[in-house]
């Protein structure tokens, strides 16, 4: 569907005004996590384990405490005991207990009058370790004789006799695999691996926390979700969440990595111990890379059967993923559910193992699990297409899911836009560019569920007839603008007359973080509901003035109108007029909405990439890149494109160069941007985008989340393109120059 068909009739939706926080962010005024300070503030530093796995024999802080300016030291002994489940794992991850479980695991924290003194003091805290055997590789960790990380970690799902680091086993499927494979003309299976990558947000974690002996506390923190911070910090510290007020700063990127806690309880614990003085804690980049949420590393097997005409008859995946030393962090369930989400395949098998390893606790990273799954499955689809001489887009069209198709993970899809993205990719000029020597083209599709989540929004009409919207989802990529556009559209007032505030935990009911591509969907949907409440009240005020039935008043173009001839003949009463009198007509006017909305329609995307590979060095240059993705309705198309482009860039980084590199000693060897190689400006071309709009029936304006799907297709698309350019199939990420050159040499 063409975009103008859908947005027809909208005044604001689909336009690209300046974002409300733009001025603050181009002048340096916007306050991020580390920009906040308080009077009498202390500075914190963390002591971290240099060992991948070690028993903590003794922690001696005597020398640190003797240093002038040191006010408090916190170890695990200062935290409450008796926690269970995820709360316990969060606490374990905040400060190690009996064992340090990965290189960089926090062991103690100190607060002092300056950051330099705190750092000096951290070096004076003496920790005695008994080093234990460690394991960082996912396949090694699954061996029966691997070092045991967390005895008894297996949950109900793990079959008897499994290796001790297997924490969870998942299987689901449908149909008859054997029969399906027998039907195929070609059946192939292959093994694929991906390395852990980091979200790589440029802003390190930072917080200022203050907590008194009475357990009342405040925190200013960069986070995707202030209520999650409140809940998790309170659980770890054994305090009452209602007594902790958390204010989110501007956030310098998150991509899922700031939906949970890492060091955040420590400023609060230190503050409490230091007589309630506020404590600021800012992570270094090395701390971010060593001790905050990367994504899982994966070892994956795919088997797929295809007929000569391209019909996929059966497929099976076996995914093993490590998510660090605690159960529940690996996205293996998501990966399995995403694996065949783009395909209508009658016979399917999914098997997954979550494995513990001596690595940092994984956090969500943009479409968690989906990129790895896509790398394996979309590579395999490409391998079969090449073997059978079939066009990769045609094969995807032939097998692609559409409305009513039963998804690989169970339910039937409602209206979705995969086919539309494939058609748009096929029609795009990039797909027709003729390629030169050593160049190749790759295609892949991707999927993400999208998410609704707990949401609470309020809208207040201001005395001057403007509106303020309070939302609980931090603005990580322009959501103030998208919510303001929807509010302007809903109320019928100018975009500039809407002020969207991201508020602290005391100002609204619980909100889940900005995650799952939900801010524009869920906060937008809740805003719309809240606005209906405000509109209803404004209609009531007009009815009151006109002395007619409120039901006889309608709202359009920012004013109350009599509903029809029968309602009476009155001049429309504008929001400005109603607002000016509201104190005298019944009091302030507002609307609010709380819910856990369903209907977050999934977003599908298809990417096309052209590369040129230097046959002598294995260096891959991305020549051109196309992202086609379904946005449902693009509220602010420029920021929708931004999500597509940013997701693609992260996926390109994951595909080509980014990786966690562990040494034999279990230490992370590249906790620095120099060697954790994210794409730089000169690595990338312009990233072309096509916004497909297949409106989501679950949202008043048809919005689908757009944040996550874009990171998924680049991994296989690059692998497919490199194969096209070189004839070498890379089944292991990253596909860096040594790997590509070795693959070229290996094929002879």
């Amino acid at each position: 569907m063409a975009k103008d068909e859908i947005t027809k009739g909208y005044t604001w939706i689909g336009t690209t005004p300046d974002r409300p926080d733009g001025l603050d962010k181009v002048t340096g005024r916007a306050r991020y996590g580390a920009d906040f300070s308080l009077p009498n503030m202390l500075h914190g530093a963390v002591v971290r384990s240099p060992h991948a796995h070690a028993r903590i024999v003794k922690i001696d802080a005597t020398k640190a405490l003797a240093l002038t300016g040191v006010k408090a030291v916190v170890t695990r002994a200062d935290l409450p005991t008796g926690l269970t489940g995820e709360d316990l794992y969060l606490q374990e991850n905040t400060l190690a207990g009996e064992k340090a479980l990965y290189d960089g695991h926090a062991v103690a924290a100190v607060a002092a009058t300056t950051a330099l003194i705190a750092q000096d003091a951290a070096k004076l805290i003496e920790v005695e370790y008994e080093v234990l055997p460690h394991v960082t590789d996912v396949d090694e960790a699954m061996k029966p004789d691997a070092p045991v990380i967390l005895p008894g970690c297996a949950d109900h799902s793990v079959p008897e006799g499994s290796a001790p680091n297997v924490a969870r086993y998942i299987d689901f499927g449908r149909g008859d695999l054997d029969a399906g494979f027998a039907e195929a003309d070609v059946v192939r299976s292959a093994h694929y691996t991906t390395e852990a990558t980091h979200q790589g947000y440029i802003e390190p974690h930072a917080a200022v926390g203050q907590m008194g002996a009475d357990g009342k506390g405040e925190m200013w923190v960069c986070t995707q979700g202030q209520w999650y911070i409140r809940k998790m910090c309170s659980a770890v510290l054994g305090t009452d969440p209602a007594q902790l007020r958390v204010t989110p700063s501007e956030i310098g990127g998150g991509f899922g990595g700031k939906t949970t806690i890492f060091m955040e309880p420590l400023p609060l614990a230190l503050s409490k111990k230091a007589g309630g003085r506020p404590v600021k804690m800012v992570m270094t980049r090395a701390e971010v890379l060593r001790a905050t949420g990367p994504t899982a590393s994966a070892s994956m097997d795919v088997k797929m059967g295809m007929k000569k005409d391209g019909t996929i008859t059966a497929a099976r995946v076996d995914f093993r993923m490590q998510g660090g030393p605690f159960p529940g962090a690996s996205p293996v369930g998501e990966a399995l559910s995403c694996a065949f989400a783009c395909y209508d395949i009658p016979n399917l098998g999914h098997h997954g193992w979550e494995v513990l390893a001596n690595r940092p606790k994984c956090a969500a990273y943009r479409a968690p699990g989906s990129p790895m799954a896509a790398y394996a499955v979309e590579s395999m689809v490409d391998e079969l297409c090449r073997e059978l001489g079939l066009d990769p887009i045609e094969v995807r069209l032939k097998n692609g899911v559409k409305e009513g198709t039963r998804a690989s993970f169970g339910p039937k899809y409602k209206r979705i836009g995969l086919v539309e993205t494939l058609e748009a990719a096929k029609a795009h000029p990039n797909y027709a560019v003729e390629l030169g020597p050593n160049q190749g083209r790759g295609v892949a599709s991707g999927f993400w569920f999208n998410h609704g989540g707990e949401t609470s929004v309020s809208m207040a009409i201001t005395e001057d007839g403007t509106a303020q919207v309070s939302v609980g989802t931090p603005d990580i990529g322009g959501s103030r603008a998208s919510i303001a556009l929807m509010a302007a559209e809903t109320l019928g007032i100018p975009y500039e007359n809407v002020r969207v505030n991201i508020v602290e935990t005391g100002a609204l009911g619980v909100n889940e973080p900005t995650h799952g591509s939900r801010a524009t969907f869920a906060s937008g949907k809740a805003m719309w509901e809240a606005a209906q409440g405000a509109i209803k009240e404004m209609c009531k005020r007009a009815a009151q003035k006109w002395d007619i039935d409120p039901e006889a008043v309608t709202w359009k173009d920012g004013a109350a109108h009599p509903a029809g001839e029968n309602a009476g003949k009155f001049e429309p009463m504008t929001i400005k007029e109603i607002a000016a009198e509201m104190g005298k007509t019944g009091g302030p006017i507002s609307g609010h909405h709380e819910s856990t909305p369903s209907g977050a329609g999934p977003s599908f995307g298809t990417h096309v990439v052209d590369v040129e590979v230097d046959p002598e060095t294995g260096h891959t240059k991305v020549l051109r890149y196309l992202v086609v993705q379904d946005a449902g309705t693009a509220i602010h198309p420029a920021y929708v494109e931004g999500q597509y482009q940013g997701g693609a860039a992260q996926g390109i980084g994951w595909a080509l160069n980014e990786a966690y590199i562990y040494g034999q000693d279990g230490r992370l060897q590249n906790p620095i941007f120099l060697d954790y190689r994210m794409p730089v400006a000169s690595d990338l071309p312009m990233i072309d985008t096509v916004i497909v709009e297949v409106p989501n029936p679950g949202h008043p304006f048809g919005v689908r989340g757009v944040g996550e799907t874009g990171i998924t297709p680049p991994l296989p698309a690059l692998a497919n393109a490199i194969h096209a350019a070189t004839g070498a199939r890379l089944r292991k990420l990253p596909m860096n120059p040594p790997a590509v050159l070795a693959a070229i040499r290996a094929k002879g």
Partner: protein, 285 residues
């Protein structure tokens, strides 16, 4: 940490000679500050050389050579047109160090004294036959650049010794140099392999050459066999093939997070060939 900003090299040497703890010299600071911030090296005495007169100068010598002060940044080097015309390979090596921001600070001498086998500016200096002037408690000496690195993070400088300037020889006619490095990205990486070639032509024939390889051994290598492979040739296919083999044979790298041994050996050959072609073309202009 004590910070010193001496006004003369004599003063700097005497501070360094009198220091008992860890001493570091500060020019561009792009390595020293990273080590300081990461807690890797916290000097007891940090001696800033930038206040010493002349350290920021690029001077044409009477014999046609160049003297480059120890505080001259990469950006200043790149902006010096006459120097770039003489020694494009030396300058391009320096200009590959870090970002534009790092270029605003980083220096040739600092890159050399950091002792990294992968230092981008060092192969160019070695191929150029550059010398450094070293001043210490026992006086002043001039030595070849390739004599400075002693292994990863180490130099042959004695305690209290400072490099006070780098001298490039006269370029002469029909000569050219080039530096190429291989990195996984297009910018911001440490060289996985680096290669500099400097040569002089007589017509189509290479009369003399110096070839230096970086990141394939504990120190930057000056490889005579590579020079021999192209000297006396017209840099035809046979010469380039011989050069490739000589570079591969000379490379004795390790496998690490930046590249495998096999990859480095192969790419050393590729870069030697490509750099030689560029240097040859430059020499013909």
């Amino acid at each position: 940490m004590r910070y010193h900003a001496p006004a003369t090299f004599e003063e700097a040497v005497s501070i360094a000679a009198g220091a008992s703890g860890v001493t570091r010299f500060l020019a561009g600071g792009t390595d020293v500050l990273v080590q300081l911030r990461s807690g890797l090296v916290t000097p007891d005495d940090l001696i800033d050389l930038k206040k010493i007169p002349g350290t920021g100068d690029i001077t044409r010598l009477e014999d046609g050579g160049w003297r480059i002060g120890v505080a001259v940044s990469g950006a200043e080097l790149g902006a010096h047109q006459a120097l770039v015309a003489d020694w494009p390979g030396v300058v391009e090596g320096m200009e590959l160090v870090g970002s534009t921001q790092v270029q605003g600070r980083a220096t040739l001498t600092g890159n050399l004294c950091n002792g990294s086998p992968a230092a981008d500016s060092v192969p160019g200096l070695v191929a150029a036959g550059a010398n450094v002037t070293v001043q210490g408690p026992k006086g002043t000496r001039d030595i070849a650049v390739e004599a400075i690195p002693a292994g990863p993070g180490k130099t042959t400088l004695a305690p209290g010794e400072i490099i006070t300037a780098i001298t490039l020889p006269p370029r002469g006619k029909h000569a050219g140099d080039a530096y190429l490095r291989f990195i996984p990205r297009t910018e911001m990486d440490i060289a996985v392999v680096g290669c500099a070639v400097s040569l002089v032509r007589d017509g189509d024939r290479v009369v003399s050459a110096r070839v230096a390889l970086g990141a394939v051994a504990p120190t930057v290598l000056l490889v005579d066999a590579c020079a021999k492979a192209i000297e006396g040739t017209t840099l035809d296919e046979a010469a380039l093939a011989a050069l490739t083999r000589a570079a591969e044979a000379a490379a004795k790298p390790i496998s690490d997070k930046r590249g495998t041994k096999e990859f480095r050996i192969e790419v050393a050959g590729v870069l030697a060939r490509r750099a030689a072609v560029i240097a040859y073309e430059r020499a013909g202009k």
